[in-house]
């Protein structure tokens, strides 16, 4: 079986070295490591934001340097740590991001379904600029999930959540990934969450 995402040993900016990885479709992978070990950089190489200095990344067996990066990023979607939302309501945000992806605005039922998946029970008319960091993070995650990517990469999605919400969210994400055969790559500093919800843990060495 060809891995959906794989890489050689990657080198970036001389100081960062990544081990070769191979990730199958529908796998839930946790990436751990100390701050500065290059976890976020690794994800940015997987969606073509960075080009490795040495080694290559493969998507469905094809070197991503041969692929259209825009199409790749639509399938290998990265939810970075800093969340950006437009001003306006939850529904406005879905519409704005869909517009950027040149898609018609999604139906209300669909939005609600993805909000619930992300443990958000807010009305669609709720304004995003008054929400907490954790709530904004989950709204953006709901938007990204609704795009149905092949691979979803999450950079510390539970950092602003309490333990109970973090557990519920990860359980929901894991169930969704298994049902829809979506591959999840999750950066986390919490080894217990990685053990509980991950099929595998990739530990990066180095860093502070």
């Amino acid at each position: 079986m060809t891995a959906i995402l794989a890489s050689d040993k990657l080198k970036f900016k001389e100081i960062l070295n990544f081990p070769p990885v191979a990730i199958d479709r529908g796998e839930v992978i946790f990436i751990t490591g100390r701050s500065g070990s290059g976890k976020s950089t690794l994800l940015k190489m997987f969606n073509g934001i960075y080009t490795p200095d040495e080694g290559a990344v493969y998507y469905n067996g094809i070197d991503i340097s041969e692929l259209d990066t825009l199409a790749l990023r639509k399938e290998v979607l990265l939810v970075a740590q800093g969340v950006f939302l437009f001003s306006g309501t939850i529904q406005d945000n879905f519409a704005a991001f869909y517009d950027y992806r040149e898609l018609p605005p999604p139906q209300a039922e669909m939005i609600e379904r993805f909000l619930q998946l992300c443990c958000m029970n807010f009305p669609l008319a709720a304004r995003c600029n008054t929400m907490s960091g954790g709530e904004r993070q989950r709204i953006y995650l709901a938007i990204c999930l609704s795009f149905c990517p092949q691979v979803l990469m999450l950079d510390e999605p539970t950092s602003a959540l309490d333990a109970a919400t973090a557990n519920r969210l990860l359980q929901n994400l894991r169930d969704f990934a298994k049902d829809a055969a979506v591959t999840l790559l999750i950066i986390s500093h919490d080894p217990s969450l990685a053990e509980k919800y991950g099929d595998r843990v990739i530990a990066l060495e180095g860093g502070a």
């Binding site: 960075y50 990066t69 199409a71």
Partner: protein
């Protein structure tokens, strides 16, 4: 209309007394810019005296080469000022800015002198003062536009990265910043057009009236030059930012903004 009353050195020197008013207010308000005020006043005096001497020579010897050299010096200085105020621009972006200043300025100047006024393009009486106004305003407008562009991009880094991660084309992400910065650059010129004749009599018109030109003629020139200035600011800022923003990403749709990823 009477001709202009010429100032002798004593009369001219009196105007420097007004600087004492500024110095007194600065001292009372504890503004520590007295040195800058003195340097700026001195520099302006020296530069304008030199310009006066050079212009006197050029007007007495109206050769195309002198006009060309003077206009080239103005263009070079404008480009230098804009680029030195925006050191973070990459090399290609800087070239685009330089070409935009020179291209837009010369195009409008050529149109103004040759088509609107209908005189020789090397006529120093028209080419030099018009160049001063055109390139001076281009410099100010472009500085404002570039400052707004680079600052808003830095402030909206999160938005840009988020959209890039979603697979949005970089040009689609960056074009709203181009449009907003163009608007910012154009606003002062358009606002000054709104107030013109009511709030202020502009410098060129004042100069012409002082030197004995009929107000009706001075007004026509002023209207024409204001429209030319607005056009040149619009053209130079648009071409700088429209072509310049394309230097901020590569063919792999990776951002090349200094300090972000490199």
């Amino acid at each position: 209309m009477n001709g202009i009353i010429e100032l002798n050195l004593f009369q001219f020197g009196l105007v420097y007394l007004l600087l004492l008013v500024i110095l007194a207010i600065m001292k009372k308000s504890r503004i520590k810019q007295t040195r800058l005020l003195l340097v700026a006043s001195l520099r302006m005096t020296v530069q304008l005296v030199l310009a006066g001497l050079i212009l006197t020579y050029i007007f007495g010897n109206p050769q195309p080469i002198f006009t060309t050299l003077y206009v080239c010096a103005m263009i070079g200085f404008s480009i230098h000022r804009v680029l030195s105020k925006n050191p973070t621009l990459n090399r290609r972006f800087k070239w685009i800015v330089a070409l935009s200043i020179a291209g837009a300025g010369l195009l409008i100047e050529l149109f103004f002198i040759k088509v609107v006024i209908g005189t020789a393009i090397f006529n120093p009486q028209y080419a030099i003062p018009l160049s001063g106004m055109i390139f001076g305003n281009t410099m100010t407008g472009l500085n404002l536009g570039l400052k707004s562009f680079t600052e808003s991009i830095e402030a909206e880094k999160n938005r840009i990265e988020t959209l890039l991660n979603l697979g949005v084309r970089p040009s689609k992400i960056l074009l709203p910043f181009v449009n907003n910065s163009l608007e910012t650059a154009l606003l002062p010129t358009m606002n000054s057009m709104i107030g013109m004749g009511i709030v202020s009599l502009p410098g060129m018109m004042t100069g012409q009236i002082l030197s004995g030109t009929l107000p009706a003629v001075a007004i026509l020139y002023q209207i024409a030059i204001m429209i030319a200035i607005c056009t040149v600011v619009c053209l130079s800022v648009f071409s700088s930012l429209y072509w310049g923003h394309k230097t901020l990403y590569n063919q792999r749709n990776q951002l090349l903004i200094p300090g972000w990823y490199n």
